[in-house]
Symmetry: C2
Subunit: 160 residues, 2 copies
């Protein structure tokens, strides 16, 4: 049985995010899992995700950090509530703020590994730190402040 990512448990109507929605056929469809006390996601950029030739453009790195950050927030919330993803009600987060430090150019040739650490869970807010590595070397470091989507916002949006 293939291990499910937290994004596989997002409600269907919230599964269209370009970065991580399993139903967005144009998008990146990133998948976030636990790996011990950290979270992990992997992504292989396409050839055209370039900045300076040979290197990944910063916007993709920001996108991956953003979506792995909201995925990490959801994973952390289920664990904090002592619930499994898939139990009700679902946890689904959006980003309040995003900080990315580009430490060195990220080579375009490699699979990227994102690792997340929970910094803080406070009410509806989860703060995580995310690293991006290529060939085992950290090339970018991010911080994501994620906020749980209000249930009435979801209902109003879907019923519009």
């Amino acid at each position: 049985m293939k291990l499910k990512a937290v994004q596989d448990y997002y409600p269907e109507e919230l599964s269209y995010c370009y970065g991580c929605g399993k139903l967005n056929e144009h998008g990146h469809q990133i998948k976030s899992f636990w790996d011990g006390e950290e979270t992990i996601a992997r992504f292989t950029p396409k050839e055209y995700h370039t900045a300076i030739p040979g290197y990944v453009y910063g916007g993709l790195i920001a996108s991956l950090i953003d979506c792995h950050g909201t995925g990490t927030a959801a994973l952390a919330s289920y664990r904090a509530a002592d619930r499994e993803p898939g139990t009700q009600p679902p946890f689904r987060f959006v980003t309040a703020s995003l900080q990315v430090d580009y430490l060195k150019p990220t080579p375009l040739t490699a699979e990227l590994e994102l690792r997340g650490k929970i910094v803080e869970i406070k009410g509806r807010k989860v703060v995580s730190e995310i690293t991006v590595s290529a060939n085992g070397e950290i090339t970018a470091r991010g911080k994501v402040v994620a906020v749980q989507v209000p249930e009435n916002f979801i209902k109003n949006t879907i019923n519009e």
Copy 2:
């Protein structure tokens, strides 16, 4: 005569960025111009650039801020040097760090307007503040620290 954006003056070998390269057919090809003391760029998201249904995903907003920030840095450097874009040597920047605050959901239905203000020019570093507006309302605010690409880095990369 159509006004050229600063990205139209980037050297050909540095015009493949997914966010702003005029030669990246898959990319966003954003164009940054002066508008008085501010810089401006416009972008209309595609339907699939969604987060929560009806709203733009944060990674796109981060990408647009990032590339308009490096474009703003190039524009500011030409102006500071009292040179026109297109004169040699070219100014081309990459992002050292990026901060984005998502103030409210950005509707997917509208053309987005990005406005940049120069905060600091110091040596090879340019700091700018960028806002993102939809329907005349600011929905996100960013800060970009851009650093000029070293000329030897470009030569080494292109000749690899």
